[in-house]
């Protein structure tokens, strides 16, 4: 097999889900019901449980250390995302959901940057499941808050001549699903593309040898960019989820 094909195959193996987890010196064969990305999800959830269930000391009057670090993010999600998009009362009520979104996605994104782990958010099934939760809250949150009639009314745009409503109302309805779909694609594509770029740049060294050594520096740069994107995408997913849910729950805003 020539080098290009080998690099290509390696990249595809790294970014795709499989039942074989390659660790240094050993290959772990996972059972049928569990894939590598599944393991990542479980690991990330366990880490979050450990962080917030055990290490996060809620009772401290003045938080310090790890609690302080985590509280910065929790407060940011509560004040700048949840309350900003949903208002004070609903915002406080929905903060746990958005904090879960933020920390879960952030954890998965950051785990994808550690060599032995894989990025589960680079799997479209994972992001689709997350976006489905948002879609569920958009639909059932709106029905719960405004009733079924209020839910239907949210799709009727204001300030349009009435004949256009026959066209715009169905489009608004489909738009709700398109928004959730775009949410899926945004996170998935960003994470997948970032990882492929890093592997492709490293692959240049394999293909061209010493001549491609500067590509290592570029890969390093992209790695740090990915570190930033891990935070940015977690933020964007949470912000857009909050915004979409807010638009459905308070349609007049």
């Amino acid at each position: 097999m020539d080098k290009t094909a080998a690099v290509n195959q390696y990249i595809m193996e790294e970014v795709q889900d499989s039942h074989e987890w390659v660790l240094p010196f050993i290959k772990v064969h996972l059972p049928d019901f569990l894939s590598v990305h599944g393991v990542m999800l479980i690991l990330c959830a366990s880490i979050l449980l450990l962080l917030f269930g055990v290490l996060y000391r809620k009772k401290d009057v003045v938080p310090h250390g790890l609690t302080n670090l985590l509280e910065v993010f929790v407060l940011f999600v509560r004040d700048q995302i949840s309350i900003a998009c949903l208002g004070d009362k609903d915002g406080r009520k929905m903060t746990p959901l958005f904090c879960s979104f933020f920390f879960f996605i952030l954890g998965l994104n950051l785990m994808g940057l550690i060599p032995i782990f894989r990025a589960a958010t680079g799997n479209v099934n994972v992001t689709a499941a997350l976006a489905l939760i948002t879609l569920g809250f958009m639909i059932f949150g709106s029905i719960y808050k405004n009733g079924f009639i209020g839910f239907v009314k949210a799709f009727v745009p204001h300030g349009v001549p009435w004949p256009l409503l026959f066209l715009l109302t169905p489009i608004e309805f489909i738009g709700m699903f398109i928004k959730a779909f775009a949410l899926t694609i945004r996170l998935f594509a960003n994470m997948l593309a970032g990882h492929i770029v890093i592997f492709a740049l490293l692959g240049l060294v394999v293909i061209f040898g010493w001549a491609a050594l500067p590509a290592m520096a570029l890969a390093m740069g992209v790695y740090f960019l990915e570190l930033f994107i891990a935070f940015l995408q977690a933020y964007i997913f949470t912000l857009l989820s909050a915004m979409f849910i807010g638009q459905m729950v308070h349609p007049e805003h």
Partner: protein, 77 residues
């Protein structure tokens, strides 16, 4: 203010995904009805219309904000 960033971030991909979703739906309908291009074309145009509609909504939201003045008479951000 943050929700405005959200609108700006989501607009681009929403337009693209809208075109893709409507086009694929049209293509699926064409396949189901045994070939042809009519529904695919309808899907493309509906997708483009959806994109334009999304932009129109953002522009309307922005012009509403621009029309509003704060206490000192400046246009509200």
């Amino acid at each position: 203010m943050y929700s405005f960033y959200g609108t700006a971030i989501s607009l681009g991909l929403n337009m693209a995904v809208g075109v893709v979703v409507f086009t694929l739906a049209g293509y699926w309908l064409d396949q189901k009805r045994g070939g042809g291009k009519a529904w695919t074309l309808c899907g493309i145009f509906l997708g483009l219309f959806y994109g334009a509609y999304e932009v129109w909504k953002v522009v309307r939201q922005l012009s509403k904000k621009a029309g509003r003045k704060d206490e000192e008479g400046r246009p509200a951000a």
